[in-house]
């Protein structure tokens, strides 16, 4: 049976992260670079117009999601792929494992996929005796470190090159170097062998095209193309909301995704993969499976948090979030970190697990400003805070304090009394109350402004 769900220990995780100076320097450096480059590239384009168009298109898909899924399935099947529609993580994992088992495949190469993280695919396959080789450089680093991704597009963002150098020397037995070019060359040499010896490649998808049945991969390292075109079997795992209506809609997202993610005008590689290898083609998988994951999304799309499903996973909200950029992704202890991650964790894992994460935001609104598809993240976070209160996931003390606040706020005589008491009792409150907040605010005055003005 599953363990009882406990809340993410976000504050303890954050405190640990704050005392890690290497992590803080790496986070600061990387998020600053991403955010600055993003700001530069979007300033040169009609961003608001593009955001509106992309948002409208995403909403159109969400309005008719099941129809678009059907259409995609039909066209992908026609192109030679086998489409597997799965309800939950377990089903998706098992289907992938059974495909591999059916071919007697003991090793897969994998390009970056957050959906595979969401369904905890690697652990599952490894327990079944399948060797999984992550081929995105960042993913490769954290895989050999035995960690999960701390950023949705830059999984090893929390590590600096010295740490990667030490890790490589220790785990791969190579000579220490902190030169990124040297480290990348080491990984490339190892991975190249894996690409050519693996019998299956697993990928995610940045988008899926309904009217052609294609999947779209956006990468900077070309590893996605290797994973999906060299091994004879290709398994793409993606969630249903990744669908866009038509290939002609794709530019509306491609012009926003790299700009928002890394500040690039285009990423180095973009692959549109339509079914299996056709006669006369020199590359491409001979067998293609598309595992479509629902995992609660058909329900989410009907509710008040549906706009979360507009997300195209660019990571801009992570880089803009003052909390994320300080503590990094692991503190959230969830598949998805940062502002989008808080909302998704609440929706996918439930309030029982996610409720402490709702304190991992100052509600500053920076995430909403940078979102390329206008997911109203600040509003969703605020609404989840309301839901947390309604469901009773705040402390008794806080509930009592707020009930008291409500009473005082609606009565000016109680308010006056409260001010006087705060002034008088301040020295006592300072002694017995929470030092880390009370020490930081001045003592309430005896001659309040209302006394002066009246």
């Amino acid at each position: 049976m599953s363990d009882p769900v406990t809340g993410v220990p976000f504050r303890a995780n954050a405190i640990r992260a704050l005392s890690d100076s290497a992590l803080r320097a790496a986070m600061r450096n990387a998020t600053e670079t991403f955010a600055t480059k993003r700001a530069e590239t979007v300033s040169a384009v009609p961003l608001e117009e593009w955001r509106d168009q992309a948002s409208d298109l995403r909403l159109r898909v969400l309005d008719h999601l099941s129809d678009y899924v059907d259409l995609f399935e039909r066209n992908a099947t026609r192109a030679g792929a086998k489409v597997h529609r799965t309800e939950g993580a377990k089903e998706a994992r098992e289907i992938i494992a059974s495909i591999l088992r059916g071919h007697g495949i003991a090793k897969v190469v994998k390009s970056k996929s957050m959906i595979s993280e969401e369904i905890h695919l690697n652990d599952f396959l490894q327990k079944q005796g399948v060797k999984v080789v992550e081929t995105d450089f960042g993913e490769y680093i954290i895989q050999i470190a035995g960690e999960g991704p701390s950023h949705i597009i830059a999984p090893a963002i929390h590590k600096d090159r010295r740490q990667v150098g030490k890790l490589f020397a220790e785990k791969l037995g190579c000579e220490y170097s902190d030169d990124p070019m040297v480290l990348a060359a080491i990984a490339k040499k190892i991975l190249r062998k894996e690409f050519f010896s693996a019998k299956a490649g697993i990928s995610g998808a940045n988008f899926a095209i309904a009217d052609s049945g294609s999947i779209v991969l956006v990468t900077n390292e070309g590893n996605g193309r290797m994973c999906t075109s060299i091994p004879p079997v290709h398994i793409a795992v993606l969630s249903i909301e990744k669908i866009v209506p038509s290939l002609s809609d794709l530019p509306k997202f491609i012009r926003l995704l790299p700009r928002s993610a890394t500040g690039q005008i285009l990423s180095s590689y973009m692959s549109v993969i339509t079914g299996t290898r056709k006669p006369g083609e020199s590359t491409g998988a001979e067998e293609m499976h598309v595992v479509l994951l629902d995992n609660g999304r058909s329900e989410i799309v009907k509710g008040e948090y549906r706009e979360m499903l507009k997300c195209i996973r660019c990571g801009a909200c992570l880089n803009a979030c003052p909390v994320y950029r300080l503590v990094g992704g692991h503190a959230y202890d969830s598949t998805y970190p940062g502002p989008m991650g808080i909302v998704l964790t609440a929706l996918l894992d439930g309030m029982e697990r996610a409720h402490p994460l709702l304190d991992a935001t100052t509600l500053c609104g920076a995430c909403g400003d940078v979102c390329p598809v206008k997911v109203p993240l600040p509003r969703l976070l605020h609404s989840l805070r309301e839901q947390r209160v309604e469901k009773g996931f705040t402390s008794r003390l806080e509930q009592m304090g707020m009930a008291g606040f409500g009473m005082v706020a609606q009565s000016s005589s109680l308010f006056n009394l409260g001010q006087a008491a705060a002034h008088l009792l301040w020295p006592i409150a300072r002694k017995i109350g929470p030092k880390d907040s009370l020490d930081r605010i001045p003592r309430p005055v005896s001659k309040t402004f209302r006394k002066i003005v009246s």
Binding site: L18, L326, L363, R385, R440
Partner: protein, 242 residues
């Protein structure tokens, strides 16, 4: 012209000198300032905590106090002004009668720098000040009210002062209302980063439109032993008045 001043609970309880500066400033421009006696708190702390029931209690009270008055409602705080302008109508989305009242109140509401620039043209009045000033752009003011240029226009117009733009001025200082108490470690770390940028400007005064943030920044400055002074924009603008 007559306006109604909402003092905000922070200014009322902890920073009355900012309230006095606001009064002097508005009166300097010939404004007749009313201060509705029953006012308390706008309810922002409950609202940001997700306590919609309690924030509605505060909002109902605010509306009942101010609907008896006329004229613009001026609030020397971006987060309180946004609470009234943006969140009140939202809080009563399922109650059309209250929603109409909330919307009427919202239409009358101005954040102080907004009122000073758009109504009083205070940035053209040749006010004076002193020293090197930098400015922290608080979150709700900037992103919810869209007030970005007004405070800067006012500060740049001050004769005898140097205005220095703060790097990443609109990055959150880590106050966040209830966040400050629930995540004190992150809150302080963010305030420390804010102070780092403030010190990098060489300014001797940091100002802003929200006392919550300024209180958090002042604490970080104190912890770091910095001589930089913290003043609300009302205090900075009223300083040179005679």
């Amino acid at each position: 012209m007559r306006v109604q001043l909402f003092g905000t609970c922070l200014i009322d309880t902890m920073f009355p000198e900012t309230g006095e500066a606001t009064l002097r400033l508005l009166r300097y421009f010939g404004v007749d300032v009313g201060y509705p006696a029953g006012q308390t708190c706008c309810g922002k702390p409950a609202d940001s905590g997700g306590y919609s029931h309690e924030s509605r209690m505060a909002a109902r009270h605010f509306i009942s106090v101010f609907e008896k008055t006329d004229g613009p409602i001026v609030i020397p705080s971006g987060s309180c002004a946004s609470m009234v302008k943006n969140h009140y109508p939202e809080l009563f989305r399922d109650d059309w009668q209250m929603r109409e009242k909330a919307e009427a109140i919202a239409r009358r509401t101005y954040e102080l720098s907004q009122f000073l620039v758009h109504v009083l043209k205070a940035h053209e009045a040749g006010l004076t000040g002193k020293g090197k000033i930098t400015y922290h752009a608080s979150c709700q003011l900037t992103r919810e009210l869209g007030v970005r240029e007004e405070p800067r226009l006012l500060l740049k117009s001050l004769k005898g002062t140097d205005f220095i733009e703060l790097p990443s001025a609109d990055r959150c200082c880590g106050f966040g209302g209830i966040f400050m108490a629930k995540m004190p470690e992150i809150s302080m770390a963010l305030a420390d980063e804010k102070v780092e940028t403030i010190m990098s400007t060489g300014a001797d005064v940091v100002t802003g439109c929200d006392h919550g943030c300024l209180m958090n920044i002042a604490d970080a400055l104190r912890r770091q032993g910095s001589p930089v002074k913290v003043k609300h924009i009302a205090a900075v603008l009223a300083e040179g008045l005679t």
